[in-house]
C-alpha cells in the first residue's frame, strides 16, 4: 500500500481486487458485476420487445421467448438491481456513519463472490442446454414439469447468490449498529443509511423462506423428494407462498435504498434539509413492517378465500400511506429550496411522478376483485416496471452520477448525463405507459406472440420503440463512463459543492483507511453543519493514532467457488429427474462442498489479526493531501 501513486501492472490490480476486503473496492466489484448483468438483462428485454414488435413475429421461438423472459426477470432482480444497490451501500454507508470499514470485511468480500459465482452459474445455462423457462417466479407445478436443466440452473444459482445477499444484509445491520462514529445517534443517521438498515433487516427476514423453498425445489428435482409432487401428497401452493413471503419484502429491499438515494439527492440540490426527517424514518420502518403482511396480494386468484383476500387487500392499500408520506416529504423538501438542476436531481424529479403512477396502479391491484381482471395481463407488467424502473433503476442511474466522483474521483459528463436521461425517461414512458392499455384490453403477459387485428398492434409497436430509446440512453451512459474513465480530472472532496453528509468531507476517492481520525458527529447533516460554521473539516473524536486494518484474503473467492463447483455436482448427480446423472456428479458435489467448508475451516484456524498503519505514515499522508493511490 504505497502512498505514492504508481502505475500498477494489470495482474497486480486483478489480484488486488480478488483479495480485497476494502468496502470501497468491493463497491467497485459490485458496480462492475451488477452493471454487466444489468446489460445482459437489458439485452434480453430488448429481444423480448423485438419479438413483440409486430403480431406473429418469428424473431425468437416460444421456448426461447420463455427463457428470455425468465432470465430477464431473474437477472434484473437478483443479479442487477440488488448488486447495484449493494455497490452504493458499500461505497457510501460506512463513510456516512463515520466508520473505517464494515463490521465484517471478510464476509463482505465473501458476499460479493457468492453473488458473482451464483450469477455466472445461472447464466451458464445459456450454453449448457437451455436457460430456465418457468418465469422468474418459477411456480412449482410449472418448474417441476420443465425439461432439461434450466430450472436447476435457476435454483442452484439463486441459492448461491442468495447466501451472499443474506451475508451482506447481516453485515450492514451489524455495521450500522456497532460502527457508528461518536455522536452519530440513530436519529442523526442520513436517510440512505437508514433505508440500508431497514432493507438489510428485510433481507434478514425474507431470504430464509426463499432459501428453504429453493432447497425444496432442488431436492424435488435433483434428489427425489416430494414436497411439490401432488401424486405423493405434495402441494405446489407451498412454493407460491414462500416465494411471495420472500418476494414481496424483496421489492421493498429494492425500493427502500432507492428512496434513500433520492432522500440524499433532493436535499442536496434543494440546498435545504430534508423535510420531516423523523417521519421519513418512521415511514421507512412502517413500510418494512407492513411489507411482511401483504405477500398474498400476488396470489388473490389462487383462491385463498374471501377473508384472507380481504385482509391482504387492506394491508396492501395501507402501504400507500407511509409511501405517500415520503412523496410529500420530498415535495416539501423542494418547496422553498434553492433548487439546482443537475443530472442526479433531474433523475429525482423524473422519479417522483413516475413512481407515483406505479404506486397508484399498485393500489388498484390491491383491490382484490379488480385484481381478478388485471391478474396476469400487461397491466401488471406495466405496474411493476413503473415502480422498479421508475423507482429503483432511476435511483441507480441518479446514484451513478451522484456518487461517481466519490467512488472514482471523476465527474461523469453532465451533458451526456442529460442525453441519457432524455432518452431513457421518454423511452421508459413510451414502453410501459401503453402497456397499461394492452393489459386492460386483455393481452396476457408471458406469451410469445399475439394475433393481428385485435387492436394490440399499435401499442405493442410503440412499446417496442420505447425499448429502443431506453437502449440508446444506456449506451450513452456507457460512452459517458468510458470517456470519463479516460479523462485525467481529479475532483475535490465535495465536488457538488452542496454535500451534506460525512462522505463529502473526505477526499474523492477516500484513502483506504477512510478516516485518519474518526469524526465527531455534532448533528444531522453533519458536513453541512460544519461548513455552515466555517469549518474546513470534521472535528476529530480521537487523537491521531495507529489504525487497525483488516488484511486482504483470497479465501472468500474459493469459498464461493466451492459452492459453484458443488452446484454442478448436484445438478448432474445420479438421482436427478432429467436422467442424465452420473456418479461423478456426487463426487463433484462432495468435492465442491469440501472445498467450501475446508476453506472456511482454514479461515478459522489461521489467526486474522489484521495490521496497523503506523501514525507516522498517516502524518506523511497529510503532507500529500491525504490522497492514496
Amino acid at each position: 500500500m504505497s502512498t505514492i501513486a504508481v502505475r500498477k501492472s494489470f495482474l497486480s490490480t486483478v489480484w488486488e481486487y480478488l483479495t480485497t476486503v476494502d468496502h470501497k473496492k468491493i463497491a467497485h466489484l459490485y458496480l462492475g458485476a451488477g452493471g454487466f448483468f444489468f446489460l445482459l438483462g437489458g439485452l434480453e428485454a430488448l429481444f423480448i420487445r423485438i419479438q413483440l414488435m409486430k403480431p406473429q413475429n418469428n424473431f425468437v421461438n416460444e421456448q426461447l421467448f420463455n427463457e428470455l423472459m425468465t432470465m430477464h426477470g431473474t437477472t434484473m432482480i437478483f443479479l442487477a438491481a440488488m448488486p447495484l444497490l449493494f455497490a452504493y451501500m458499500n461505497a457510501v454507508v460506512p463513510l456516512q456513519i463515520g466508520a473505517r470499514d464494515v463490521a465484517f470485511p471478510f464476509l463482505n468480500a465473501l458476499g460479493f463472490w457468492l453473488f458473482f459465482w451464483g450469477g455466472i452459474f445461472l447464466n451458464l445455462s445459456w450454453f449448457l442446454g437451455g436457460a430456465p423457462d418457468a418465469g422468474w417466479t418459477s411456480y412449482a407445478s410449472l418448474s417441476l414439469a420443465s425439461e432439461g436443466h434450466g430450472i436447476d440452473f435457476y435454483t442452484l444459482g439463486i441459492q448461491i447468490s442468495g447466501f451472499g445477499t443474506l451475508m451482506s444484509g447481516i453485515n450492514f445491520l451489524a455495521t450500522i449498529i456497532t460502527m457508528r462514529a461518536p455522536g452519530m445517534s440513530f436519529m442523526r443517521m442520513p436517510l440512505f443509511t437508514w433505508t440500508t438498515f431497514i432493507a438489510s433487516s428485510l433481507i434478514l427476514m425474507a431470504f430464509p423462506p426463499l432459501t428453504i423453498s429453493v432447497f425444496y425445489l432442488i431436492f424435488d428435482r435433483l434428489f427425489n423428494s416430494a414436497i411439490f409432487d401432488v401424486t405423493l401428497g405434495g402441494n405446489t401452493i407451498i412454493w407460491e407462498h414462500f416465494f411471495w413471503i420472500f418476494g414481496h419484502p424483496e421489492v421493498y429491499i429494492l425500493i427502500l435504498p432507492a428512496f434513500g438515494i433520492f432522500s440524499e439527492i433532493i436535499p442536496t440540490f434543494s440546498r435545504k434539509r430534508l423535510f420531516g426527517y423523523s417521519s421519513m424514518v418512521f415511514a421507512t420502518i412502517l413500510i418494512g413492517f407492513l411489507g411482511f403482511m401483504v405477500w398474498a396480494h400476488h396470489m388473490f386468484t389462487t383462491g385463498l378465500g374471501n377473508v384472507a383476500n380481504a385482509i391482504f387487500a387492506v394491508a396492501t392499500m395501507a402501504i400507500a400511506v407511509p409511501t405517500g408520506i415520503k412523496i410529500f416529504n420530498w415535495l416539501l423538501t423542494m418547496w422553498g429550496g434553492s433548487i439546482k438542476i443537475t443530472v442526479p436531481m433531474i433523475w429525482a424529479l423524473g422519479f417522483i411522478p413516475s413512481f407515483v403512477m406505479g404506486g397508484v396502479t399498485g393500489v388498484m391491484q390491491g383491490i382484490a376483485p379488480l385484481d381478478y381482471q388485471l391478474h396476469d395481463t400487461y397491466f401488471i407488467v406495466a405496474h411493476f416496471h413503473y415502480v422498479i424502473i421508475g423507482g429503483v433503476v432511476f435511483a441507480i442511474f441518479a446514484a451513478a452520477h451522484f456518487y461517481w466522483p466519490k467512488m472514482f474521483g471523476k465527474m461523469l459528463s453532465e451533458k451526456l448525463g442529460y442525453v441519457t436521461f432524455a432518452f431513457f425517461f421518454v423511452g421508459f414512458h413510451m414502453t410501459f405507459f401503453v402497456q397499461h392499455f394492452l393489459g386492460l384490453m386483455g393481452m396476457p403477459r408471458r406469451v410469445a406472440t399475439f394475433l393481428p387485428g385485435q387492436g394490440l398492434d399499435l401499442y405493442n409497436f410503440i412499446s417496442s420503440l420505447g425499448a429502443i430509446l431506453m437502449t440508446i440512453g444506456v449506451i450513452v451512459l456507457l460512452v459517458n463512463i468510458v470517456i470519463t474513465s479516460m479523462s485525467k480530472q481529479q475532483v475535490a472532496n465535495d465536488p457538488w459543492g452542496d454535500g451534506r453528509t460525512i462522505e463529502w468531507a473526505l477526499p474523492s476517492p477516500p484513502p483506504y483507511y477512510n478516516f485518519k481520525q474518526l469524526p465527531l458527529v455534532r448533528g444531522q447533516d453533519t458536513w453541512w453543519l460544519e461548513k455552515m460554521e466555517g469549518n474546513k473539516e470534521l472535528p476529530p473524536a480521537e487523537p491521531l493514532q495507529d489504525i487497525h486494518m483488516p488484511k486482504g484474503s483470497i479465501l472468500p473467492f474459493f469459498i464461493a467457488l466451492g459452492l459453484f463447483i458443488a452446484g454442478f455436482g448436484a445438478m448432474y448427480n445420479p438421482l436427478n429427474q432429467v436422467g442424465d446423472g452420473h456418479p461423478m456428479g456426487t463426487v463433484v458435489l462432495i468435492f465442491g462442498l469440501a472445498m467450501t467448508f475446508g476453506t472456511m475451516l482454514l479461515r478459522s484456524l489461521r489467526d486474522d489479526l489484521g495490521y496497523y498503519i503506523p501514525k507516522e505514515e498517516l502524518e506523511d499522508d497529510d503532507a500529500k493531501g491525504g490522497k492514496v493511490s
Partner: protein, 105 residues
C-alpha cells in the same frame, strides 16, 4: 486501581457469577420439569384438544428460558438483538399461521 481493590472487585464478581450460575441451574431444572410434563401429557393419552395448547405453551416458555437464561439475553446490551429476535418470531408466527390456515389442497 490498586491490587486490593482489584481483588475485592474480583471477589464480588465471582460471587455474582456464582449466583448467576445458580439461576441457570434452577432454570435448567424448570426446563427439564416442563419437558417431562409435556411427555407425560402425551404418554397418558389425554385428549388432543387439551394437550396441544399445553405443548405449545410449555415449548414457548422453555424457549424463553433458553433465550433469557442460557443465552444470557436478560443481561444488558441485548436490546437491539432481542428486537430483531422478536421481529423474526413475528415473521415466523405469520408464516406458520399462513401454512396452517390458507393451504388446503
Amino acid at each position: 486501581m490498586n491490587k486490593q481493590e482489584l481483588r475485592a472487585q474480583y471477589e464480588y464478581r465471582r460471587r455474582k457469577s456464582a449466583e448467576g450460575m445458580r439461576l441457570q441451574l434452577i432454570s435448567f431444572g424448570l426446563m427439564a420439569f416442563l419437558t417431562i410434563i409435556s411427555f407425560l401429557a402425551v404418554g397418558y393419552g389425554l385428549p388432543k384438544s387439551f394437550v396441544v395448547p399445553i405443548l405449545l405453551l410449555l415449548a414457548s416458555v422453555q424457549a424463553l428460558f433458553q433465550l433469557y437464561y442460557f443465552m444470557h439475553a436478560s443481561e444488558k446490551g441485548h436490546g437491539m438483538v432481542m428486537f430483531f429476535m422478536y421481529s423474526a418470531m413475528f415473521v415466523a408466527f405469520i408464516t406458520v399461521l399462513c401454512y396452517m390456515t390458507i393451504i388446503w389442497w
